[in-house]
């Protein structure tokens, strides 16, 4: 893990690394360095993109994208130490104008995760051709998974306005 940490530090500028417990390497990188780091890691054998997540740091007015990278087995029946390593690559983008480049050319399975983040956090992934609605059925003013979206208020606003439908009797459709 330390070797990889050094390699990362020497190849890319402006990144901060920290070691979380149990084989977890946290890397914070500036925006432009993310895609090069990811392709660098992929070439190193960390070719399993587990998850793309997003955290809304509302007080700092930033969204944090988190890429969790691990590796598949290289050889059967043998578990090298680096195969247990999780890399949490993080980068921050502005909250007002959330734009980022897509990861699809490097990791194909980034597509549904980016679709989800586009829908739930309103992040626009440049170059992803399929940012179509995925989970939600209607449009929201504020993307619903951001911290300033209050579910209780939304429910009050949206559903309390719907009037009750009175049952019609003696009428068959």
């Amino acid at each position: 893990m330390n070797k990889l940490k050094k390699e990362l530090k020497s190849s890319f500028k402006g990144i901060r690394t920290g070691i979380l417990e149990d084989n977890r390497l946290a890397v914070s990188a500036p925006k432009d360095a993310v895609l090069p780091i990811l392709s660098f890691l992929k070439n190193k054998g960390y070719e399993h993109l587990s998850l793309i997540s997003c955290v809304d740091w509302i007080e700092e007015k930033e969204l944090e994208l988190v890429y969790v990278i691990t590796s598949y087995l290289q050889k059967n029946d043998e578990y090298a130490d680096n195969e247990r390593l999780h890399i949490l690559l993080k980068t921050r983008i502005s909250r007002e104008n959330p734009e980022f480049k897509t990861l699809v050319p490097i990791f194909k399975n980034a597509e549904p995760y980016e679709r989800e983040l586009h829908e739930l956090f309103g992040i626009n992934f440049e170059g992803n051709k399929r940012l179509t609605p995925l989970l939600l059925e209607r449009a929201y003013k504020i993307p619903p998974f951001r911290k300033d979206f209050n579910t209780r208020e939304y429910v009050k606003e949206k559903f309390d306005k719907i009037s009750f439908v009175e049952e019609k009797k003696n009428e068959r459709a």
């Binding site: 979380l20 417990e21 149990d22 084989n23 977890r24 946290a26 070719e47 399993h48 993109l49 587990s50 998850l51 997540s53 997003c54 955290v55 809304d56 988190v66 969790v68 598949y72 087995l73 059967n76 029946d77 578990y79 195969e83 247990r84 999780h86 949490l88 990791f107 194909k108 399975n109 597509e111 549904p112 995760y113 609605p133 995925l134 989970l135 939600l136 059925e137 619903p144 998974f145 911290k147 979206f149 579910t151």
Partner: protein
């Protein structure tokens, strides 16, 4: 021939769960498939940000109907990691027993779904009956049949009840004794071979590229199982094998499910033998004032369908700041399914979908 648009689900007899696929078909061939989730989106990850750590504990299991225990496990593991709680040894054994039992139940459910989809009602009903026997065990152990709310941060909720071991062994012997019946009627059935061989084939490279885990990856010959790679609970102390196959088609996926069931039975028996005496629950601080130190973590377990991960961020308050589940069906149900359905025949839609073990509640969360 005319091009038709066909809706496969959510109102469809071949659909297991609230999921929908829009198919563009020409004759019997599928030109294009679009997976269409979202019928069951409950926003659990958002809801969990509104609830305290302990209030979330009965909530997480409800994400997945088929195998709720791995959900509880992954949540408990994340909380323990952030709060630095050590789990007692006996609790770890009980966790392994519960997880394997639920894997068994989930695989039997998978057998039901697959056999039912092929129109093989007999085997489907047998599998459902055996799953019910396991639910009986769960009822005795946890008081609930489906959502157990059992594996909590700090251990498990209560100790094994009296006579549980005997009953569990009895049930396992019943199920293990029926495996020849299953083999004779289903797994060695010529028509099952005809229907499943070569269907939904995925190569090793494609599987790696699409982020595939679980038995779909193991069916392509990669011996990747988180229980071995990164052992949790007591998986480093028990002896079990990871069944793999080479072909990567529906046939090998279903066979892996069958082999894993046998391995699960063996694992549970070993755990029941080896289980030490002692505490099952490490007291956590007053749950209503429980603040967990700042931090973030990503933990993963091997659920019955693949890698189940949880990314969790705490900002030092009494509620999680962000939780994000990485569910196995998410890449399987969206990317792999769309890829495999292309140019398949309509008769094989359910065949491919269920051999991938796509569970809708996991995708939607």
């Amino acid at each position: 021939m005319r091009e038709l648009e066909l809706y496969f689900g959510p109102q469809h007899l071949g659909m297991v769960g609230n999921f929908s696929i829009t198919l563009k078909v020409e004759g019997d061939q599928i030109l294009e498939a679009h997976a269409n989730p979202g019928w069951l989106h409950r926003g659990f990850e958002k809801l969990m940000e509104y609830r305290t750590w302990i209030q979330n504990f009965p909530l997480v299991c409800r994400i997945n109907v088929i195998e709720p225990d791995s959900m509880e496990m992954v949540y408990a593991m994340a909380v323990e990691k952030l709060a630095k709680i050590e789990v007692p040894e006996r609790a770890n054994y009980i966790r392994a027993i519960v997880l394997e039992l639920s894997r068994l139940a989930s695989h039997l459910f998978g057998c039901w779904a697959y056999a039912n989809m092929l129109g093989f009602d007999t085997v489907a009903q047998w599998a459902m009956y055996h799953r019910d026997l396991i639910l009986d065990l769960f009822e005795q152990l946890t008081g609930a049949r489906v959502y157990h709310i059992y594996i909590c941060p700090g251990g498990v909720r209560r100790d094994l009840p009296e006579g549980f071991k005997e009953k569990a062994l009895n049930t396992l012997h019943t199920i293990g004794g029926c495996i020849p019946d299953y083999d004779a009627t289903f797994f060695n059935n010529r028509l099952f071979y005809e229907r499943a061989k070569g269907i939904g084939k995925i190569t090793r490279e494609e599987a790696k590229e699409l982020g595939v885990t679980g038995q779909i990856l193991r069916a392509t010959g990669i011996n990747f199982d988180i229980r071995k790679v990164e052992p949790y609970a007591v998986y480093d102390k028990v002896d079990f094998e990871i069944p793999t196959r080479e072909d990567g088609d529906a046939y090998s996926r279903v066979w892996i499910i069958r082999d894993e069931m046998i391995q699960s039975v063996h694992t549970i028996m070993q755990c029941l033998e080896k289980i030490p005496e002692g505490e099952v629950y490490k007291r956590v601080p007053n749950p209503f004032k429980w603040n967990i130190p700042k931090g973030e973590t990503y933990v993963r377990v091997e659920s019955s369908r693949g890698e189940l991960g949880l990314y969790m961020v705490s900002n030092g308050k009494d509620k999680p700041y962000r939780v994000h589940f990485r569910t196995p069906s998410y890449p399987h149900g969206l990317l792999v399914l769309e890829k495999l359905l292309k140019n398949a025949s309509i008769a094989d839609v359910g065949n491919i979908m269920i051999s991938l073990y796509v569970t809708a509640p996991e995708i939607d969360r």
